[in-house]
């Protein structure tokens, strides 16, 4: 019965979506076929792609959209991840007191050494990804996720040597404050939140793009510490 009703619901949704695509131009592809892309007014993407390089001097247009044009979204998104990390720790808080610590078998020497050797390299790769976010594909989120996967490795290979909750908390709140501080300096200097107030340099150099690399580094630290904290709490290793 329940299955039948849900299949019927799905059919209605599918029909609605299908009928959407039978009509006129849709999406960037349809717009380019209809010749709409020449009008500057109707399409965000066209404008960012054509003017983004000179306005922000960052080679990666996605980076300048994420950090500058739609940077306010990014602030909200970092907040969402922060909420998830804090809420998860709060929900599992009671469990930590009632659960008895499980004695897991330590990893073998080869795994242990391998993990200790790889861990700094992974951190380095993550840092590379978020520092070069404005030049190459990648950025704060991707780099942060790579950093967090380093903590995953530590959990697998070196039990009991995970992150310390206090350190994670300090890292995430300081990097969040750094992001906000950069944004607010823009408000104080130029009257606009998240303004790219630093000299932008010449495109394709490491020191270019004004505040974009700064904010990406802050995001990288924040995402890395939050995802690391989530891994720590879910795996039951948090201290």
């Amino acid at each position: 019965m329940r299955r039948l009703i849900s299949l019927l619901l799905l059919l209605i949704v599918a029909l609605g979506i299908f009928l959407c695509f039978s009509g006129a131009s849709f999406g960037a592809e349809g717009a380019s076929r209809a010749g709409k892309l020449t009008e500057d007014k109707v399409n965000f993407g066209r404008r960012y792609a054509s003017r983004g390089l000179e306005e922000n001097k960052a080679g990666n247009i996605v980076a300048s959209v994420v950090v500058n044009y739609r940077g306010f979204d990014t602030l909200g998104e970092v907040t969402v991840l922060f909420i998830a990390a804090v809420g998860l720790a709060a929900i599992l808080h009671a469990r930590r007191e009632e659960a008895t610590p499980s004695k897991a078998e330590p990893a073998s020497l080869i795994v242990f050494t391998g993990c200790r050797f790889l861990f700094p390299l992974i951190l380095l790769l993550g840092a590379y990804i978020f520092i070069h976010g404005h030049l190459t594909p990648g950025g704060g989120f991707q780099g942060g996720a790579v950093v967090a996967s380093g903590f995953l490795l530590i959990y697998l290979g070196c039990r009991g040597r995970g992150l310390r909750s206090a350190g994670v908390a300090v890292a995430e709140s300081l990097s969040g404050l750094a992001f906000l501080a950069v944004a607010l300096v823009g408000l104080a200097v130029g009257g606009s939140f998240l303004l790219n107030f630093l000299p932008k340099g010449s495109a394709f150099a490491l020191f270019s793009g004004g505040v974009i690399p700064l904010i990406y580094v802050a995001i990288g630290f924040k995402v890395g510490s939050e995802l690391g904290g989530i891994i720590d709490n879910l795996s039951g290793e948090a201290r």
Partner: protein, 493 residues
């Protein structure tokens, strides 16, 4: 004039700073939400005269709209953000001593972020940004419903999260369809172009958006989560969820339907949905024995009435709806806050165990009575003024359809009056149960009496002098109805 963006940035910064402050001192984090909300209240109220003259459009990143995200602080947005800050401040004061178990510091962080999300929803002028702040609001409420990790809270949180996640997925599909059709995400820009596109695709994207936001707004078939979540959360959180969070969903629906799409053809459908929601909520509330579940179901009913009033599409109707949002927010926050300490005192959430509490907790039960009477719509409380505005608006439209719906809806109000009067009668005229254990932890601290008393005084004052809020209601309704003015203000030409 202070930039409205500080309404979001400053509380956010304080929330980010709490973990560091918490390491320095255990006592400081408890007072941070109060500071944040006090700041928001002062700034919102000081912005109100400016917003009444013309909506304040704030750019981010220095680009003129529509090329970046911007905030639009119009009369409606600033009125709602003042309401959020006011209720948030009072509940934050209440929470200083009320929160006794679980991770207290994390509670304070999530509490601030939930209110930041609500403020962002009412101020933003960009449809994807609306989604992001909506997620901030929703995800922190999932976490707050379950933050104690007890069995009912966790179960309610899981149900709420599943339905909310589906809802936000649907919103995202709707946004994708909108972006594919218009190539823009700014609400004003979409509103300016909306007439140039064939109607069926618009209808599908609007259906996705309304269904998605409707989950949070607890419209009839989508409100399965609400009674569980509102009754399992701590009372201070229930007050915010009922008083503010569900209204944010309704605001999003109203903004999308009126300003962005200008879709007047679906309004009768929304009106019918509203009345159905009203009847179902009130009927379920009538049979409840648990006081917090009763209040939660009554919230569903009131949301139905607000939706009905919003669907009237007349200036009076929308001012009535906004007035009801204000009055229901104040009254429901008061009821949940008062019931929180009553539950601590009697150790039970059964309505029968609250019999005779009027003698043991005179101030709390007096305030509860004020809130209940206001919800029923008795003069001279604020509920009467708002419901009267709605009735006047319906009679003003002169259409038989709406008058019939209103007549059906009045049955719901009668049911509401019946169960609230039963509770109040129990407070004063029934003897206390024999074996009622006197809980010593039920002593009401000063920090709880002040917000509850203030809310009761506010309900009475605004009820006696509706002009305090009434001056803002007209411009707020125009803010929602007048699409050309909105587009002109935002796009600047």
């Amino acid at each position: 004039m202070v930039s409205p963006i500080l309404l979001i940035a400053v509380p956010l910064g304080l929330a980010f700073a709490i973990p560091v402050l918490g390491l320095a001192s255990k006592r400081v984090p408890r007072y941070v939400p109060v500071i944040a909300m006090l700041f928001n209240l002062v700034v919102s109220v000081s912005l109100l005269p400016h917003a009444l003259k013309a909506p304040i459009v704030v750019r981010t990143a220095g680009w003129a709209p529509p090329y970046s995200i911007h905030l639009v602080a119009g009369p409606l947005g600033v009125l709602l953000s003042s309401l959020i800050a006011l209720i948030g401040l009072l509940v934050a004061v209440y929470g200083i001593d009320y929160i006794r178990e679980g991770a207290k510091v994390k509670y304070q962080i999530l509490y601030i972020l939930m209110l930041v999300g609500a403020t962002g929803v009412v101020l933003t002028g960009d449809i994807f940004n609306l989604f992001v702040f909506f997620e901030v609001l929703c995800i922190s409420s999932y976490a707050l419903v379950a933050y104690r990790g007890d069995s009912t809270g966790v179960e309610a949180g899981a149900k709420y999260l599943i339905q909310g996640a589906i809802g936000s997925g649907l919103v995202l599909i709707g946004i994708g369809l909108v972006y594919g059709t218009f190539g823009t995400l700014t609400m004003a820009d979409i509103a300016a172009n909306v007439s140039s596109v064939g109607s069926f695709r618009l209808f599908v994207s609007l259906a996705f958006l309304i269904t998605g936001f409707g989950v949070e707004a607890a419209i009839f078939p989508l409100n399965g989560w609400l009674p569980d979540a509102h009754s399992s959360a701590p009372s201070s959180i229930s007050a915010i969820l009922s008083g503010i969070a569900i209204k944010a969903g309704l605001y999003a629906i109203a903004r999308v339907v009126y300003t962005v799409y200008g879709a007047s053809s679906i309004l009768p459908f929304l009106a019918v949905l509203g009345i159905v929601t009203l009847l179902i909520g009130e009927m379920c509330a009538f049979g409840q024995e648990d006081i917090k579940r009763l209040l939660a179901f009554s919230s569903i009913g009131q949301m139905g009435l607000i939706l009905f009033a919003l669907a009237l599409a007349s200036a009076t109707g929308i001012s009535g709806a906004v007035f009801l949002i204000v009055s229901h927010g104040l009254a429901k926050a008061l009821l949940f806050l008062a019931s929180g300490y009553m539950i601590y005192r009697t150790g039970s959430r059964d309505i029968s165990s609250l019999n005779g509490i009027g003698k043991r907790m005179p101030i709390m039960s007096l305030c509860f009575t004020v809130g209940a009477f206001s919800l029923i719509g008795l003069p001279p409380f604020v509920g009467f003024a708002s419901k009267f505005t709605i009735v006047r608006a319906v009679l003003g439209t002169g259409s038989t359809f709406f008058i019939t719906l209103l007549a059906i809806g009045l049955i719901g109000t009668v049911i509401e009056g019946a169960y609230f009067l039963r509770i109040v009668q129990g407070f004063y005229f029934k003897p206390a149960p024999e074996d009622s254990p006197e809980q010593t932890e039920g002593k009401v601290p000063f920090s709880a009496l002040v917000p509850v008393g203030l809310l009761a005084v506010l309900i009475l004052t605004i009820g006696l002098f509706p002009g305090i809020v009434g001056r803002v209601l007209g411009p707020a309704a125009d803010d929602l109805l007048d699409r050309t003015a909105y587009v002109q203000h935002v796009m600047g030409d």
